[in-house]
C-alpha cells in the first residue's frame, strides 16, 4: 500500500469534481442532505486531503447515504454504530482522515452510548450529524431531536418526550470540538466543517439538515429566521465549556458556529507503546524469536 503522509503536513490539490462519485443520489428534491454533501466536498478540497486518505463511515437512514456520493473509502454500516467502527479505522491506521456521518436517529437513538464514549475518548475523527428532527426514510416518525409537542406519524397528538440536546451532551461528555451548522448557509457550514476536519481530536459538528418531505416545522425558512451566529458576538472565544453552554442555553441551541475547541492529545497519541510510525495496519509481521521467548517467560 502507499505510505501515508500526515494529513495536516501536506496539502493535496483537488477540485470538487474529484470528490464526486457516479452513484445517483437517492435523496428527495430539496433535501437538506444535499447541502451537507456539497459543503463537505468543498471543505475536503479546501483542507487539502486526497480521496484515498479519507474514510467515511456512514450510518443508516437518508443521511447514511452520504458516503455513496463522496469519492473516498466508505463504509455504510449498521444503524447507530458509525463511531466505534470509525474508531477502529483510526486505530488501525492513524494516517487516515476518518469521518463518521449519520442522522439524528442514528446518532442519538441507537448511537447515543457510543456518542458519549467517543466524546470522552477524544479519538481523532470528525463526526457530522445531519439532524432533520425526524425519521425520514421510514416516512415520518418523531426522532430524539424532535421538539416536545412535535406532531408526526408516531406522535399524532404531539411528542410527549423531551428532546435530546446533542451540543450540551457533547460539551459535558468532554468533546474537544463542538460546532453546529445549517445546510441552508453553505459558507458558514463549509467553514465549520473545515475547522472540524483540521481539529486533532474528536470534532462533533451538528448540522441542521431540513427534511422537506416530512418535517413541516423545522424547515429551511424556520432555521433562516431562528438561527443565530456565534460570530455575531465579536467577544466570543470558543475556549470555555461553561460559556459555551451558557450561550447555547440562551439561544435554545439555535446557534451556528464553533462553540468550543480545545487542544489536547487525542486517544491514540496517549496509548502506551502506540506509534504512528508502526501502526497496526503495518506491524512487524514476524516477531523476533528473542522477543517471543521473552513474552513466553510469563508461562514458565
Amino acid at each position: 500500500m502507499t505510505t501515508m503522509r500526515g494529513a495536516l503536513e501536506m496539502m493535496t490539490t483537488t477540485t470538487v469534481a474529484d470528490w464526486k462519485t457516479s452513484a445517483p443520489t437517492w435523496w428527495c428534491p430539496g433535501c437538506g442532505d444535499f447541502g451537507d454533501l456539497s459543503a463537505l466536498q468543498k471543505a475536503l478540497v479546501a483542507v487539502g486531503y486526497a480521496p484515498e486518505e479519507v474514510v467515511i463511515v456512514a450510518g443508516v437512514g437518508c443521511s447514511g447515504k452520504i458516503g455513496n456520493y463522496v469519492n473516498s473509502y466508505n463504509m455504510h454500516v449498521t444503524h447507530g454504530r458509525t463511531l466505534p467502527i470509525a474508531m477502529g479505522v483510526k486505530l488501525a491506521n492513524p494516517h487516515l482522515k476518518v469521518i463518521a456521518a449519520g442522522g439524528d436517529g442514528d446518532g442519538f437513538a441507537l448511537g447515543m452510548g457510543h456518542f458519549m464514549h467517543a466524546c470522552r475518548r477524544n479519538v481523532d475523527m470528525t463526526y457530522i450529524v445531519m439532524d432533520n428532527q425526524i425519521y425520514g426514510l421510514t416516512k415520518g416518525q418523531t426522532s430524539p431531536t424532535s421538539a416536545p409537542g412535535f406532531e408526526s406519524k408516531s406522535t399524532p397528538e404531539g411528542n410527549v418526550e423531551g428532546a435530546v440536546d446533542p451540543l450540551m451532551l457533547a460539551l459535558t461528555a468532554g468533546a474537544t470540538f463542538v460546532a453546529q451548522g445549517f445546510t441552508g448557509n453553505q459558507k458558514k457550514l463549509q467553514a465549520v466543517l473545515e475547522a472540524g476536519l483540521q481539529h486533532r481530536g474528536f470534532a462533533f459538528i451538528n448540522t441542521f439538515s431540513p427534511c422537506p418531505t416530512y418535517n413541516k416545522v423545522n424547515t429551511f425558512d424556520f432555521f433562516r429566521t431562528e438561527l443565530h451566529d456565534i460570530d455575531e458576538d465579536p467577544g466570543y472565544r470558543p475556549n470555555d465549556r461553561i460559556r459555551a453552554m451558557q450561550v447555547l442555553l440562551q439561544h435554545r441551541q439555535l446557534l451556528q458556529g464553533v462553540f468550543y475547541r480545545e487542544e489536547r492529545p487525542s486517544f491514540h497519541e496517549l496509548l502506551p507503546g502506540f506509534s504512528e510510525d508502526k501502526p497496526p495496519v503495518n506491524p512487524d509481521w514476524q516477531l523476533s524469536p528473542a522477543l517471543w521467548g521473552k513474552l513466553l517467560n510469563l508461562y514458565r
Binding site: 502506540f274 513466553l296 510469563l298
Partner: protein
C-alpha cells in the same frame, strides 16, 4: 489411574492434588504455584478451579492433575486434598477414595464423611504460618506439606517460589521458604508420630525434567493473536473471556498495539470491523451474552466481506445463566447468529496448542476469504491451565497469509474508478484494496451492492452476490485444518463425537472403554462451519452407535448433524444411530462419565425405525450413572 489398591509399592504416574478454602484466600495462586512447581519438575499438568461470581467469600478450590504423560481433561478423583476449612472436605467428599490423603488445618477439627476411608493428616497450618510471619502463609505451609507428601525436593520448590516472589523482596522470599520448610517438617513429623513413618501415598514417578509452558486456552489465544500479527483487541470484560484481554494489556504496548476497552460488545465488534476494513488484524473475545450483542454487526462483516475474528469462550446460558460455569450452548448462535444469510467459519480448538494454532489460522482465514471467523472456545478450555510444549508455539513456524489484495501498480493501471472491490471472480474472493491506496476507493456497504460496491436492489445482482459470498466456503478440506480428526478402528461399534474441551474428556473416556474391550473410535470436530458432514458420514457409516457428547440441554451438535442430513447419509450406508450424552450442570465431562454414558447406550437395543431419535442420556454432578432425559 491410581495403583495403590493392589497394595503394592508402585510408582504413581498420576496424582490429583486439590486445595479448597474461601474465595479471596489465595487459593487460585496456590494452585498456580503447585502447577508451576510440577512443571519445573518435568510433569505434565492440567489445572482447574471452581469459583463463583463474587470477589471475596464463598467456597473455591483449585485442582492440579500431575502426570507423567500429557493430560488435557479434568478427572473426578482427588488423591491429595488440602482443606483449609470443613466445607472444602464436604464439597470434595465424592472425589475421595480409600487411598486419598486430606491435609487439613488442625485448627478446625477436620471431619471426614463416614466410610470415606481417606487418611486425614491434620497439621497446624495457620499456627505455623503465624509463627513465621503471617496467617496468609498457611497456603504455603500446606504447599510444603503437599510437596513432602508427593516426594518433591524441598529445595526445588523453594527455588521456584524465590523466583516467583523475588520482586516482592527478601523478606517475602524468606517467609515463603520458611513456610514451605515448616509444612514439610510438620508432615514428616505427623507421618512419624501417627503412621509409623510410612506415607499413605506411594511415591510419584519422577517427571522427565523437561520444562514446558503452563498456559490456559485464553492465554494461548492471546499469544496466537500476537504471533499472527494482530495488534488491536477491542473488547468488553466478561467472564470467562476477560483473561484474553488481561494477557494482551501488557504485551501489545511492546509490539505497537493496543487493547481498547469499549463501552459494550456492539462497539467491540464494530471497532474490529473498522480496523479490519482499514487492513489491520484485530479481534475481540467474548462469551455468550457478548456474542448475542454482536450478532447484527457479524452480518455487516459478512456482507461487506471484511476480515474479522471473534473468540467465543462459552459459559452457561441463556441470559446471565451460569457465568462462572462451563457449557457448550452457543453453538447455534456461533454458526447461524445474525439475521439473513451470513456464512462464516467456526473453528473448534480442543486444547491449548489448538487454541494457539486456531487463532493464528483464524486471522489467516479471515484475510484469505474476507470473512468473519469465530474461534469456538469454552470455559474449561479458556480458563484451565495445561502444559504446552514450547515447540508447539515456535514463532518461526507461524505463517502469515494476508489473502488476495490489489497492488498499487494494479490500481494505477486501472485508473480512477476502474477498481471493482466485489468483482465476480472464480472462488468468490475478490482482491481488496486498503484505505490509503490510490484509486482503490470503494464503498463497503451493509446494503446489497454491485461489484463496484454501489448500493443496488437489482435482483440478478442480488443472486450473484449471494452466490459469491457463499462459494468462498465450498471447499472445507482446503482450510489449513482438517474438518475433523478420527482416531479408532475402521469398523468401530461405537464412535464418540465431540468438539472443544469435551473432545479431551472423550479421548480419555475412549481409553477406558478400550481397556474394557469396546471397539470405540473418537471424532474430534475441528471445524464446525463449514461443517465436515461428508467425512463424518464416512466415519460413522460402519459404526452401530454415534454418541454425540456435549455440554448443553438441547443436544445442539446432534441437532446440527441432523440439519446437515447425517441420518439420511447413514441410512444409505448401514445401521448407525445418532444418540446423545448431555451434561448441563455447569461442569465439563469427566472421562469416567463419558465411559459410563457409552456403556449405557451400548446396552440399549437399536431404536425402531419410525420411532424418532433416541432419547438423550444425561450426566450431572452427583449422578454415578447416566439417566435418560425423561427421568430427570
Amino acid at each position: 489411574m491410581r495403583q495403590t489398591e493392589r497394595g503394592e509399592e508402585h510408582l504413581l504416574h498420576e496424582v490429583n492434588w486439590k486445595i479448597g478454602g474461601v474465595q479471596g484466600e489465595g487459593i487460585d495462586s496456590t494452585g498456580d504455584i503447585m502447577a508451576l512447581v510440577c512443571n519445573g519438575l518435568g510433569y505434565h499438568i492440567y489445572s482447574n478451579r471452581v469459583f463463583s461470581s463474587r470477589i471475596k467469600g464463598g467456597h473455591t478450590s483449585a485442582k492440579v492433575r500431575i502426570a507423567t504423560r500429557p493430560v488435557a481433561a479434568p478427572v473426578q478423583e482427588t488423591h491429595v486434598l488440602v482443606a483449609l476449612d470443613q466445607e472444602s472436605i464436604d464439597k470434595s467428599a465424592a472425589e475421595l477414595n480409600a487411598g486419598s490423603c486430606v491435609i487439613a488445618d488442625s485448627g478446625f477439627k477436620p471431619c471426614l464423611p463416614s466410610g470415606s476411608g481417606a487418611t486425614v493428616i491434620a497439621l497446624a497450618l495457620t499456627a505455623l504460618a503465624r509463627e513465621i510471619q503471617a496467617p496468609i502463609l498457611k497456603n504455603t505451609v500446606a504447599l510444603g506439606a503437599s510437596a513432602e507428601l508427593l516426594g518433591f525436593p524441598l529445595e526445588e520448590v523453594q527455588a521456584y517460589t524465590a523466583t516467583r516472589f523475588g520482586r516482592k523482596g527478601g523478606k517475602v522470599v524468606e517467609g515463603n521458604a520458611k513456610a514451605l520448610a515448616a509444612g514439610a517438617g510438620a508432615l514428616r513429623q505427623y507421618l512419624d508420630e501417627h503412621l509409623g513413618g510410612r506415607s499413605p501415598l506411594p511415591p510419584l514417578a519422577p517427571g522427565d525434567g523437561r520444562q514446558r509452558l503452563v498456559i490456559s486456552g485464553n492465554h494461548a489465544v492471546a499469544m496466537g493473536a500476537v504471533a499472527a500479527g494482530c495488534r488491536l483487541m477491542a473488547t468488553y470484560p466478561i467472564t470467562p473471556a476477560y483473561e484474553v484481554m488481561d494477557a494482551l494489556v501488557p504485551i501489545f504496548p511492546q509490539v505497537g498495539g493496543a487493547v481498547v476497552q469499549m463501552e459494550d460488545e456492539l462497539a467491540s465488534l464494530a471497532f474490529c470491523i473498522g480496523a479490519g476494513f482499514a487492513g489491520a488484524r484485530s479481534f475481540t473475545a467474548t462469551s455468550g451474552p457478548g456474542l448475542s450483542l454482536m450478532q447484527e454487526n457479524l452480518g455487516l462483516a459478512a456482507i461487506t466481506e471484511t476480515p474479522l475474528v471473534i473468540v467465543d469462550v462459552q459459559r452457561g446460558g441463556p441470559s446471565s445463566g451460569l457465568p462462572t460455569k462451563h457449557e457448550q450452548s452457543d453453538l447455534l448462535a456461533m454458526l447461524h447468529g445474525t439475521h439473513g444469510d451470513a456464512p462464516r467459519i467456526v473453528l473448534a480448538p480442543g486444547d491449548v496448542a489448538e487454541a494457539f494454532h486456531d487463532t493464528v489460522l483464524a486471522f489467516n482465514l479471515a484475510d484469505r476469504l474476507h470473512t468473519p471467523v469465530i474461534v469456538a472456545s469454552d470455559l474449561s478450555l479458556g480458563l484451565w491451565k495445561q502444559t504446552l510444549e514450547e515447540a508447539d508455539v515456535d514463532i518461526e513456524r507461524v505463517e502469515i497469509d494476508r489473502g488476495p489484495s490489489v497492488s498499487d501498480a494494479e490500481l494505477a493501471a486501472l485508473g480512477p474508478g476502474g477498481f471493482s472491490r466485489y468483482a465476480w471472480v472464480p472462488g468468490g474472493v475478490s482482491p481488496r484494496s486498503l484505505p490509503g491506496q490510490k484509486y482503490g476507493q470503494f464503498q463497503a456497504a451493509g446494503v446489497e451492492h454491485n461489484p463496484k460496491g454501489n448500493v443496488t436492489e437489482d435482483s440478478a445482482n442480488r443472486v450473484r452476490m449471494m452466490r459469491k459470498r457463499a462459494m468462498k466456503f465450498a471447499d472445507v478440506e482446503d482450510l489449513g485444518v482438517p474438518g475433523l480428526v478420527y482416531e479408532g478402528p475402521d469398523e468401530p461399534e461405537l464412535v464418540l463425537v465431540a468438539y472443544g474441551s469435551t473432545s479431551r474428556s472423550v479421548l480419555e473416556g475412549a481409553e477406558i472403554l478400550r481397556a474394557e474391550g469396546v471397539t470405540v473410535g473418537t471424532v474430534r470436530l475441528r471445524v464446525l462451519a463449514p461443517f465436515p458432514i461428508a467425512s463424518l458420514a464416512d466415519i460413522l457409516g460402519p459404526a452401530r452407535v454415534a454418541l454425540f457428547v456435549e455440554n448443553n440441554f438441547g443436544a445442539q451438535l446432534a441437532g446440527l448433524v441432523r440439519f446437515h442430513g447425517l441420518e439420511g447419509r447413514l441410512a444409505a450406508r448401514g445401521r448407525c444411530e445418532i444418540r446423545s450424552l448431555l451434561k448441563f450442570d455447569g461442569f465439563q465431562f469427566y472421562s469416567a462419565e463419558v465411559a459410563a454414558g457409552a456403556r449405557e447406550t451400548l446396552k440399549r437395543p437399536p431404536t425402531q425405525p419410525g420411532f424418532g431419535p433416541a432419547e438423550p442420556f444425561v450426566m450431572a454432578a452427583g449422578l454415578t450413572q447416566p439417566v435418560l432425559m425423561s427421568a430427570i
